[in-house]
Amino acid sequence: MNRLLLSLCVLLCALQALAADKAEPDPQELFMRGNIAYGNKEFSKAENAYRQVLELGHSAEVHYNLGNCLAQQNQWSEAAYHYMKAYSLKPSFEPARANLLLAAQKMGLERDYPTLSGPANLLSETKWTLVAAVSFWLGLIFFFHRDFVRFTLPFGKTLGTISTVVLLVSIFAIIQHQLFKDWAVVSAPVVSLRVAPADQSPGESVLIKGDPIRVLGEQAGFYHVMTAGGDEGFILQSEIHPLAND
């Protein structure tokens, strides 16, 4: 009997150790490791830690810190991509926008990089979506509440109109966010902007690493893109970092 109990205990301990080995690392701990490495100016180590965090989840802060690591290693184009991601996730996150502009300035592209404007700059797309949903239902309730309850809400029509305006603004902001997500950053050193989606297609012009471009669509393994200057063409999918690529 004692032997059996002992064997069970050993088996349980072994299973626990195995489970601990296979347990996923804690993203908060990884993030802190990255911060400590950054503070010690071990930027490559910090970059690895932040990349591991991104495998577990995304946030504006992680993308921003990773962008800083890359910028400290003079990888401005990829840094700009991560600042754009951070800015897209949290438009009110001013440091991300400021560092994005700095990265663009370092690459001499300060006029090419897009930024959000108007209502989209106030809230993230998720929050605007929630605002849109709430304002939609509130609008319905304010306008049609007499069909549900016996009493009349004061200023029902005014509040319904306000809800409708908020709904329209939300939709506009969501569209702005969607358009912002169409942007991408050229990741290859030199990229040929092809006139057709084919390897043998002649190049119309050349883009360099860090150039921001808008993705218009996909075709046969190529992205149909438009440059900040308005030139359209095709680029291999492996040659750019699309912002919406998650």
């Binding site: 946030s59 810190n65 400290q72 001013e94 979506t129 849109a132 949903a133 966010h177």
Partner: protein, 593 residues
């Protein structure tokens, strides 16, 4: 032999002559070199031509390198073939344009090239570069106004570069002046310089003026000269038909204008007695400091703005480095410059520091020293900003220790900076990590949530509509209130039929039919008061189908027979009638709707 047959023969002869000529020529290739025009006038464009006799091939020739001459990068080529009395002579030419940058006798040296395996010697050319004649010099000239020295390395010196073109001369093209000499750097030339008209020695000139800031970058003897390429439209003095058809024939001539060479000695900044607070500010400045508030709280940021106003090398001034004050956390400053002139020589440069007191024992902002160098006096001047008394209240919040993180209190400062001078610091918190990165409105839970809300909305609306109908539609309300009783009576009737309880059965049947038929009445009638004849009349009025009418009539008659004559049906008949009552009740209800 006709003409057609002679053509191949003639072509063969020609080719034979050509080949023979080339072979003959290859045996004796000669080279000549010349400069056109000669002598060359300083500031004008000339041409160096190398001519090869006896070959159609031009060897690979590098641009000549001669001190005092600036050759163009592009080589011009031409080739001529002549056949005179059956003798073929071939001549090829290579040429470069050049501008002399010095005067006197110059020589383009000889060199040897290899053509078709043969070494050919290009002879040297010696020519004179003569000064620009007075007439040409008066047409256009370049003048640089530089203030008197001495000049110190790093100093900002305002200079004026002016291109003067005589009023009767038509300038067709001008390039930016270019400086010669590695001891200075200067600000960029404006694309649209101010144009003025001025009178010099009695002649009217059009002047293009650039105001620049010159900065010496190394010490010792230094020379500065500006050169500028221009093109002038010049009337041809040899034109034989100047007035014919009022055509004024003219030609374009290119010149390189040069300013008078400026020679000076660049002095180093005095090394002795250089104050520690000197941050490369050279000029005449006034230093001031401003504190956002004197009543502070531990952990709450304040701004300290140091400003330098006056004239000097604003673009090279580094932020004053504040000494390490005890109990203060100091962040790198935000730099701003407001120029008062286009060259940026005068203005005000400010450095806005964010300071966070760490201890309530602080009583003052310590003294700040800032040293500048005045080139006029050749000495350093140190401005001492006296210590500012402040009061610091203790904080209610614990202080954070995050040296590499952006303090939350400086968020406002970050907001103001559009493009920061350096990377803003990393964030200490990871924020809320999300696994899904897509738009919320593209997710299933979002639409499930909204769908549930929509169902709730519709359900509430349906209930409200039903209640409203019940209160407004009397027939509907009666039908609705009787519905449960009818269902109960139907169940009762079936059970009574099963048990053979005729009394209960017929009572239930009567109740069901009375209720259902009362709903068909156009008037409001009490169901219990309806007798069989009333029921039949209502059924007729309601125009129910004949079979339904007959069924109802039969059932009511059966109920009457039991009530008034005591004639009860058999159990099987009761069960059959129970089915008929159920279907009649359903049909009557459908008809009532």
């Amino acid at each position: 032999m006709n003409v057609v047959h002679r053509i191949p023969f003639l072509l063969a002869c020609l080719l034979t002559f050509q080949t023979a000529g080339q072979n003959l020529a290859a045996e004796g290739i000669e080279a000549r070199a010349s400069v056109n025009p000669s002598p060359v006038m300083a500031g004008t464009l000339a041409e160096y031509v190398v001519t090869f006799e006896g070959t159609s091939r031009i060897p690979e020739l590098l641009k000549p390198q001669v001190d005092g001459l600036e050759f163009s990068d592009q080589m011009g080529t031409s080739s001529f073939t002549r056949i005179v009395n059956g003798r073929t002579s071939i001549r090829t030419q290579a040429s470069w344009g050049f501008r002399p940058t010095s005067q006197g006798t110059l020589t383009i040296p000889a060199r040897v090239v290899r053509i078709d395996g043969q070494e050919v010697r290009i002879p040297a050319v010696t020519f004179r570069v003569i000064p620009m004649d007075e007439e040409t010099r008066q047409r256009a000239f370049l003048r640089v106004d530089i203030p008197d020295g001495p000049f110190y390395v790093g100093e900002a010196i305002p200079i004026r570069v002016g291109l003067f073109a005589r009023d009767d001369v038509n300038l067709t093209n001008i390039a930016f002046p270019e400086s010669e000499g590695d001891a200075f750097i200067h600000t960029e030339f404006d694309n649209n310089p101010p144009r003025t008209r001025t009178r010099i020695e009695g002649r009217l000139y059009e002047a293009f003026v650039w105001d620049l800031v010159l900065t010496p970058i190394k010490t010792g003897p230094a020379t500065l000269q500006f050169r500028q390429n221009i093109s002038l439209q010049v009337s041809d003095p040899n034109d034989r038909f100047p007035s014919l058809f009022s055509l004024n024939r003219s030609r374009s001539e290119s010149y390189t204008l040069a300013s008078q060479p400026f020679e000076t000695e660049i002095l180093p900044l005095p090394g002795t007695n250089q104050p520690d607070s000197f941050q490369d500010a050279i000029g005449h400045f006034e230093v001031a400091a401003a504190l956002s508030t004197r009543e502070l709280q531990v952990g709450e940021p304040i701004t300290l703005t140091l400003s330098l106003s006056g004239s000097g090398n604003f673009d090279r001034i580094s932020p004053p480095s504040l000494p390490a004050w005890d109990n203060w956390r100091i962040y790198p400053p935000k730099v701003d410059f407001v120029p008062e002139d286009e060259a940026g020589l005068r203005g005000e440069k400010s450095f806005e520091y964010i300071l966070i007191p760490q201890d309530s024992a602080i009583t003052e902002i310590p003294e700040i020293r800032y040293a500048t160098f005045d080139p006029a006096s050749g000495s350093y001047e140190t401005t001492v900003l006296e210590a500012e008394p402040v009061t610091v209240k203790p904080s209610e919040k614990p202080l954070q220790e995050a040296p590499v993180f952006a303090p939350s209190a400086s968020a406002e400062a970050e907001k103001d900076s559009i493009v920061p001078d350096s990377l803003l610091p990393i964030r200490p918190d990871s924020g809320t990590l999300r696994t899904a990165m897509g738009a919320l409105w593209k997710t299933v839970p979002f639409w499930i949530g909204n769908g549930l809300f929509a169902l709730l909305f519709l359900g509430t609306w349906q209930i409200r509509q039903r209640r409203r109908r019940l209160s407004e539609d009397d027939r509907f309300a009666r039908r609705h209130s009787a519905e449960r009783k009818i269902r109960k009576a139907l169940a009762q009737a079936r059970e009574a039929a099963n048990q053979g309880d005729a009394e209960t059965f017929y009572e239930s049947v009567r109740f069901i039919l009375q209720e259902r038929i009362s709903h068909l009445s156009k008037r409001r009638v009490e169901a219990k008061t309806l007798v069989t004849s009333d029921c039949i009349a209502i059924l007729q009025d309601a125009q129910v189908p004949d079979n339904l009418h007959e069924t109802c009539h039969k059932l009511l008659n059966a109920a009457d027979a039991f009530t008034f004559a005591g004639i009860a049906a058999h159990k099987e008949n009761l069960l059959q009638m129970a089915d008929e009552v159920a279907s009649a009740a359903t049909a009557l209800n459908r008809h009532a709707k």
